[in-house]
């Protein structure tokens, strides 16, 4: 019988490097990732620096400039390209003459804030519910999935309108939107978490932990959450853009943020009629929205592929099955994870 060392002879420093490193490496290898990340960083900086930049331009998002618009022609900005000028870098808003540059930046704050906030809510609830459903017994699981069905079945708009009407008017509107969006669409997250939990639960290291005397909470914290992080994060990255669009849509239906606060959605919703008279007015918020959403989505995709080990050995002809290993049962819920907001159609 050879000594254990024989088998252990393989010195770790020769074997593959730790996963974290590789994930970052893979990320950095993807130009798309770098680009979209850069875009997002810039956007965030713009949003944060809104007051400074506006001051730099010498404008603010609320002051009216009646002299800059043609009252006789429906208040269309004087001058070409929506009144772009040295004083107003991106022109002014039809009907009010408020400075577009300032409004867009301040709008970025609101839009991003709402989107991220809502995502946070979705993820939080999603993880809690998902874990509960995954770890709890059959009954708990059933109850939770029924409950989520009720929520899915309720048209978001109805609730949104009712809520916005019920909630006292001085309740901070962005927060309200965060809650409305967040509370009404965390199913995707919870489903992913549930599926993953169910899968993880079967793994031996969870059993081992229990044998080691770990209680349910300890198990959840030590054995499950770390493995859940990756899928949740990537899914969250895909949620953000969805939320931005929802915010826009709610504003379009007149239940978005309150004036004079600007948000991209609110700007778009007023802008839509100006398509032909003042294209700049539409294209600016639309452009910002588009870029942001694209950036987030791309980043989300990239992160997912980077984190998903299967993505790599894909297409290579080979078997995943080991000795005595049954082919994995498919999770029948997987599809729903792929779904985004319904309210935006």
């Amino acid at each position: 019988m050879t000594s254990p060392q024989a088998d252990a002879a393989l010195p770790p420093h020769e074997v593959t490097p730790a996963r974290k490193g590789t994930v970052w490496r893979r990320l950095r290898q993807r130009p798309a990732a770098v680009l979209s990340a850069a875009v997002l960083i810039v956007l965030v900086l713009l949003a944060l620096g809104a007051p400074l930049l506006a001051a730099l331009e010498g404008q603010d998002p609320t002051t009216y400039h009646d002299d800059l618009i043609d009252s006789a022609r429906g208040g269309v900005p004087l001058g070409s390209y929506g009144g772009i000028s040295a004083d107003h870098w991106l022109g002014v808003e039809p009907g009010t003459g408020r400075d577009m540059f300032a409004r867009l930046l301040y709008g970025a704050r609101v839009s991003l804030l709402i989107a991220l906030g809502a995502t946070a809510v979705q993820v939080l609830i999603g993880v809690v519910v998902g874990l509960a459903a995954g770890l709890g017994n059959r009954l708990a699981d059933q109850v939770l999935s029924r409950f989520t069905e009720v929520l899915t079945a309720l048209p978001m708009l109805v609730i949104a309108i009712s809520l916005t009407a019920i909630v006292p008017a001085d309740f901070p509107r962005p927060l309200l939107l965060v809650l409305v969006i967040g509370l009404l669409s965390w199913f995707g997250t919870s489903r992913i978490v549930r599926a993953r939990t169910l899968a993880l639960k079967k793994l031996d290291h969870v059993a081992a932990a229990r044998l080691g005397g770990a209680g349910p909470l300890r198990v959840a914290r030590r054995e499950l959450l770390p493995s859940l992080a990756a899928p949740v994060i990537t899914y969250a990255a895909v949620l953000v853009p969805g939320n931005i669009v929802v915010e826009a849509s709610l504003s379009f239906l007149g239940i978005g943020v309150r004036p004079p606060t600007a948000s991209w959605g609110q700007m778009l919703s007023t802008a839509t009629t100006w398509f032909r008279a003042d294209p700049v007015y539409v294209l600016l918020p639309a452009g910002f929205l588009l870029v942001t959403v694209l950036a987030f989505t791309v980043l989300g995709d990239v992160v997912r592929t980077a984190l998903d080990p299967r993505e790599r050995s894909r297409l290579r002809i080979g078997t995943r099955a080991g000795r005595k290993e049954k082919p994995p049962k498919k999770e029948k819920h997987d599809v729903r994870e792929k779904r985004e907001k319904e309210a935006v159609v």
């Binding site: 009646d66 006789a72 039809p94 309150r258 004036p259 919703s269 007023t270 100006w274 003042d278």
Partner: protein, 578 residues
């Protein structure tokens, strides 16, 4: 609240309004008077019969029941099917703002003190089934408007007719001679008995409640599916609950008995539920049937206006409409600090009407207002400006007043508005006001309420906010329905919608209103309404902001466009497409 020409409920409708309001100036800053609506009168050639007129609307014609419609239905679709005792004079501009006979031979014969009104029906009037129209049918039509099942009409009949307040309508009240205060001594005669003198009864008689309904054909709430026509057209098709209507000629209608309606087209097709932007786009493009299309509830919005004003061809196809309507800041003096006249005046001085007008769509779509009464002679409009603040407001003067009022170091108030995206009570106006008051050191906190919530609040006596954006439109072109509901102390209602926002109960005012109502000479009445308005205006109970103007676009084959100042609607009964 009375805005006859405008369905306020559906979302599309609301946007319609926005847009609507937008329109006027292609025809030009030059002209907002009636005269230039003539710009409309189509491409010269005399109008001829025939063809199909398409009506593109945003709000479906739900409530196609004479009892449930709020007003005369103006120049709108109902006027093609319902004839009434009197009707609007269908002419361009100011002349259009008076009542003329329709079913009746004259506009009504008042008794000495205008408490009894007598009408005689013309000869040869027939329903679409050929059966004659009798005074009983007209009476029945009015009676059924009292039924809870068919609510929706204006309150005047209930308020004016003797016993009106208690009458429950023919369904509940089985008494065979129904509402006693309407007598039908014979097939042709109607006699109305009023509680008090009402000189404007002829104007009331234009409302669809005065349209005949054959009792035998009454199907209650289902009547709207196929109302029996007394007008030039009958309902051939009504699908999607008024979404899509096809109207065809009513063979039993004769021009001889109807001098008001021209009924040029053979068929009229109404398509509704459309987005207002789409409607205007279609009218502008005028492809296929859209060339012979008009809209009765959608107007040009600022954007469309800006775009059209660049295009001479389109400019020609825009009619300007005026409708007695005023948008204003309403105070509730029961709420501090608005109990202090100085504060109210300060606000009045600080308001920048230029910004407000712009927010309402620009000078083409809104005219700055300093009087509560709309700017039409029928209303008795007498120009005045109790707190002259110029085009853009007078912050300095406002500051002064505030100091006197003890708010030297600034004042913070709340402005309530609707979140509905309409141009009048919506956020845009609110922010404009907020911005203007800032200059006078007044910090305005906006309280935007979902439209229902907003209406609920501002129309309640007890929790009406101290300051909100309101609007008021005339049920008919006269000072009466304008001032009375808003300033008559006896019209402060608790368990229903209250429009007397200031809850003004001034015996002098009340008395003057009664006095004017006695007059059957409406010209004379108008003058006194104007005077009364000025008197009230001095109290700064409201800050008039602007009177909307309507720009109505129509298809390129449309001829004989008539837009009267009654409600500024393009009169569908006059239009020809050949």
């Amino acid at each position: 609240m009375a805005e006859p020409s405008r369905p306020r409920h559906s979302a599309p409708a609301r946007r319609a309004v926005t847009v609507a309001v937008a329109v006027a100036l292609a025809a030009g800053a030059t002209a907002c008077g009636p005269k230039d609506t003539a710009a409309g009168d189509g491409a010269g050639a005399a109008p001829a019969k025939g063809g199909t007129l398409t009506v593109l609307n945003s709000a479906p014609q739900t409530n196609f029941d004479p009892a449930r419609l709020y007003t005369s239905g103006g120049g709108k679709v109902p006027t093609l099917v319902f004839r009434t005792l009197t009707t609007r004079n269908r002419e361009n501009g100011a002349v259009g703002a008076k009542a003329v006979p329709d079913l009746a031979t004259d506009t009504g014969r008042p008794s000495e003190n205008a408490t009894v009104w007598t009408y005689t029906l013309k000869d040869g009037l027939k329903f679409e089934d050929g059966s004659p129209i009798t005074s009983a049918d007209v009476k029945y039509g009015i009676e059924r408007s009292f039924a809870a099942e068919l609510s929706g009409g204006a309150p005047y009949l209930r308020d004016w007719l003797v016993g009106g307040e208690s009458y429950q309508g023919p369904y509940k009240d089985k008494d065979k001679d129904g509402l006693k205060s309407i007598e039908t001594p014979d097939e042709k005669t109607l006699v109305f008995h009023l509680k008090k003198p009402e000189g404007e009864f002829p104007l009331l008689a234009t409302q669809t409640q005065f349209a005949p309904v054959p009792k035998a054909k009454d199907t209650g709430t289902k009547y709207e599916e196929h109302p029996v026509s007394s007008g030039p057209y009958k309902v051939a098709k009504n699908t999607g609950d008024g979404e899509h209507l096809v109207l065809e000629r009513n063979p039993y209608w004769s021009e001889k008995t109807d001098s008001e309606r021209h009924a040029y087209p053979d068929t009229i097709e109404v398509k509704s539920g459309l987005d207002s932007a789409v409607i205007n786009q279609r009218l502008a493009t005028g492809a296929g049937p859209d060339a012979a299309a008009v809209t009765t509830d959608t107007n040009l919005g600022p954007a469309e206006l800006a775009q059209i004003s660049g295009d001479a061809g389109l400019g020609k196809r825009v009619g300007t409409g005026h409708f007695g309507y005023t948008d204003y800041l309403a105070f509730n003096p029961k709420v501090k600090p608005f109990d202090d006249p100085k504060v109210r005046q300060a606000v009045a001085y600080a308001v920048n009407r230029q910004s407000v007008v712009n927010a309402a769509g620009g000078s083409a779509l809104a005219e700055p207002a300093t009087t509560f009464l709309p700017n039409g002679e029928a209303f008795g409009h007498t120009p005045y400006d109790p707190f002259p603040a110029g085009r853009t407001g007078n912050p300095a003067k406002a500051k002064e007043l505030l100091k006197e009022a003890g708010h030297g170091n600034g004042l913070s108030i709340t402005l309530t508005h609707s979140t509905a995206k309409n141009f009048e009570t919506g956020p845009d106006i609110a922010t404009a006001v907020q911005e203007a008051l800032k200059k006078a050191g007044i910090t305005v906190k906006l309280q935007g309420l979902e439209d229902n919530d907003y209406k609920e609040k501002v129309h309640s006596v007890d929790d009406a906010p101290g300051l909100f954006i309101g609007g008021w439109g005339a049920d008919w072109p006269s000072g009466g329905p304008f001032l009375a509901p808003v300033f008559d102390g006896r019209q402060i209602v608790r368990d229903a919608s209250n429009f007397n926002h200031a809850q003004l109960d001034d015996p002098a005012v009340n008395h003057e209103i009664d006095e004017i109502n006695k007059l059957t000479d409406l010209k004379a009445a108008a003058v006194r309404w104007g005077a009364l308005d000025k008197k009230i205006g001095a109290q700064a109970l409201s800050v008039p902001l602007f009177h909307p103007v309507y720009k109505r676009l129509y298809g390129k084959d449309v001829k004989n466009v008539v837009i009267s100042d009654w409600d500024g609607v393009l009169d569908v009964s006059q239009v020809a497409v050949k």
